[in-house]
């Protein structure tokens, strides 16, 4: 697929901009702070309904405006769809498809698929486990938009269960405990005997949605593993094999170090010990996973009641990245970390592509970070894609292999120069 037209109103620095785009490579070139990234961020937003740079929507709206509008014409198999998003910080966003309103913005997910490479990706390797969980979950949603709902339901169960556990923790510490003010109402509401019986109900809900998320993640990691290893080997030959494994809080022991790999193949880089512990690809049956989740919740119940947090579930799992025999996080060099992050994105790209349609590739300011060799290799890998959008501070940052259309971006105006 490719984006044929992008139109922004009051988005970030742009009061108004209209861009006609073509398949193939398009580069947006201009000094820092001129609005290049804002353009690709808008497309990323159409694809994921969130920004890759900020968590909330407020910064996306131009200063002084009350709402921002993104319009994108997406062409897939010669069919053109017009997606329109109205971003209203603090209120519900609205979406239109081919000029007709859709009930929920979520309904336009999947019309545009993008894989976005950005400097922020370094956090995939160096950052907290939450970054890697987000990577997996975003990819799940891109493949099957239904998961946006599963994710939202799981988060809500966590919130409800968390509130209940905090109430219980409070009750145990007695009134006048240090966190008394936090949920006075909840404390008053739930008698201590209540808590346990209600907890079982939320355990069941957590297990149900958690199992769905977990099962999907395990299958996803299984599919990504060979692709990421291959992409890493292509980007950084001879620097050790890149491995992925999923470490779940589901396995006994609880602490991540001793946990389980999703696949358990030799290629995980994890020893046989991890394989014997647990989850094999065959065991992604949702009912079985739900059963195991419930059992684990019972095991950790005492600790949960003391600490007032849900300790088991996909929200505490980790996608472990290994380089050779070592964990990438903490051991990999800056260059290796970069290559690994790129390899993850490339694996995501290959996975989406394997489903029949090329997603739009967006490379936001990534070439400047790479040495000549990696730059060339990345360029070779992405060049055949149906549409590649690149941002760069200077034209020299765009590899020669990726010649195509060029726009100059300066002070909020975008002009086609080639």
């Amino acid at each position: 697929m490719h984006v044929a037209h992008l139109s922004l109103a009051d988005f970030r620095s742009y009061e108004s901009v209209e861009l006609d785009l073509e398949p193939g490579v398009t580069a947006f070139v201009g000094p820092n702070g001129q609005g290049k990234t804002n353009l690709v961020e808008a497309l990323g937003y159409v694809a994921t309904l969130s920004s890759h740079r900020v968590a909330g929507d407020a910064p996306l709206v131009r200063h002084g405006a009350t709402r921002a509008i993104i319009r994108a014409a997406v062409v897939k198999d010669d069919r053109r769809a017009l997606v329109e998003l109205e971003i209203n910080p603090g209120r519900a966003n609205r979406a239109r498809l081919n000029r007709s309103p859709v009930p929920r913005p979520r309904d336009v997910l999947g019309l545009l698929r993008t894989v976005l490479f950005a400097p922020e990706d370094l956090a995939l390797v160096k950052g907290d486990p939450s970054e890697r969980r987000r990577f997996l979950d975003d990819l799940l949603v891109a493949r099957a938009p239904r998961f946006a709902g599963v994710r939202a339901d799981y988060d809500r169960v966590l919130k409800q269960r968390g509130a209940l556990l905090r109430t219980a923790a409070l009750a145990r510490r007695g009134r006048g405990g240090p966190r008394r003010a936090e949920s006075e109402a909840a404390f008053a509401a739930a008698g201590a005997g209540d808590v346990l019986s209600t907890l079982e109900v939320w355990d069941a809900q957590l297990a149900r949605y958690g199992a769905e998320l977990l099962g999907a993640r395990l299958e996803l990691v299984e599919a990504l593993r060979p692709l990421a290893a291959e992409a890493y080997a292509a980007l950084a030959p001879g620097s050790g094999a890149a491995t992925l494994s999923y470490r779940s809080t589901l396995s006994t022991g609880g602490d991540t170090e001793s946990d389980v790999s999703a696949g358990g193949g030799v290629s995980t880089g994890l020893s046989t010990e991890s394989r014997s512990l647990g989850i094999t690809p065959a065991v992604t049956d949702r009912d079985a996973l739900a059963e195991r989740l419930r059992a684990r919740l019972l095991e950790v119940r005492q600790a949960e009641l003391e600490r007032g947090v849900t300790l088991v579930g996909p929200h505490r799992d980790e996608l472990f990245l290994g380089l050779g025999d070592l964990p990438a996080r903490g051991y990999a060099s800056h260059g290796e970390s970069w290559s690994f992050a790129l390899a993850l994105r490339l694996a995501a790209y290959e996975l989406l592509r394997a489903e029949g349609t090329d997603p739009v590739l967006i490379l936001d300011d990534v070439f400047a970070e790479l040495d000549t060799q990696r730059r060339r290799r990345l360029a070779e890998i992405v060049a055949p894609a149906e549409q590649v959008l690149i941002t760069a501070a200077v034209p020299e940052d765009v590899p020669a292999e990726l010649s195509g259309a060029r726009f100059d971006v300066s002070e909020g105006s975008v002009t086609r120069v080639a």
């Binding site: 309904d107 938009p145 239904r146 709902g149 339901d153 809500r156 169960v157 919130k159 409800q160 269960r161 968390g162 509130a163 209940l164 109430t167 949920s183 109402a185 909840a186 404390f187 008053a188 509401a189 739930a190 008698g191 209540d194 808590v195 019986s197 209600t198 079982e200 109900v201 939320w202 069941a204 809900q205």
Partner: protein, 199 residues
Amino acid sequence: MYEGVVQNLIDELGMLPGVGPKSAQRIAFHLLAADPADVKRLAHALLEVKEKVRFCRVCGNVAAEEECRICRDARRDDHVICVVEESKDVVAIEKTREFRGRYHVLGGAISPIDGIGPDDLRIRELMTRLADGRVTELIIATDPNLEGEATATYLARLVKPMGLKVTRLASGLPVGGDLEYADEVTLGRAFEGRRLLDV
């Protein structure tokens, strides 16, 4: 900001559900311009509803007397109780004219975030009603969202030892709709709850 009393009225109206500041202002000025007799009638109705209406001591539905209209109706089936979250759900189900049993209004759903646990709902009253063994089926008609499902599960577990039939309203496709327009969750549920076509 307006003169004291006008602003007070706008503020009070603005606290009502579904009424924002703009609507509150519009209603306030409508009332200012309205015939005094009309406004008195409205004020009277407001006071009266708080004074006279209470909750049925059996089912918890809104009632004008000790017991609500449905609980007093001798023609209704005593063997089936339909559990709902709010009184307005009773009204919705009554409109179908499909259900001839009794109701039980919980007064909400289990939601720890809002500090609502089972003890805050009229569950103990429900258990008392079930105790005499006359009821053979409990239909759980809480909302099909997370909190409603949790409440349904809680109730089902609670009454399981009593050996009565517990059912849950089906969720699925809207009647008269197109299959293609249903969202994935609804369609998935409809698959789960499919039934045998008996011909």
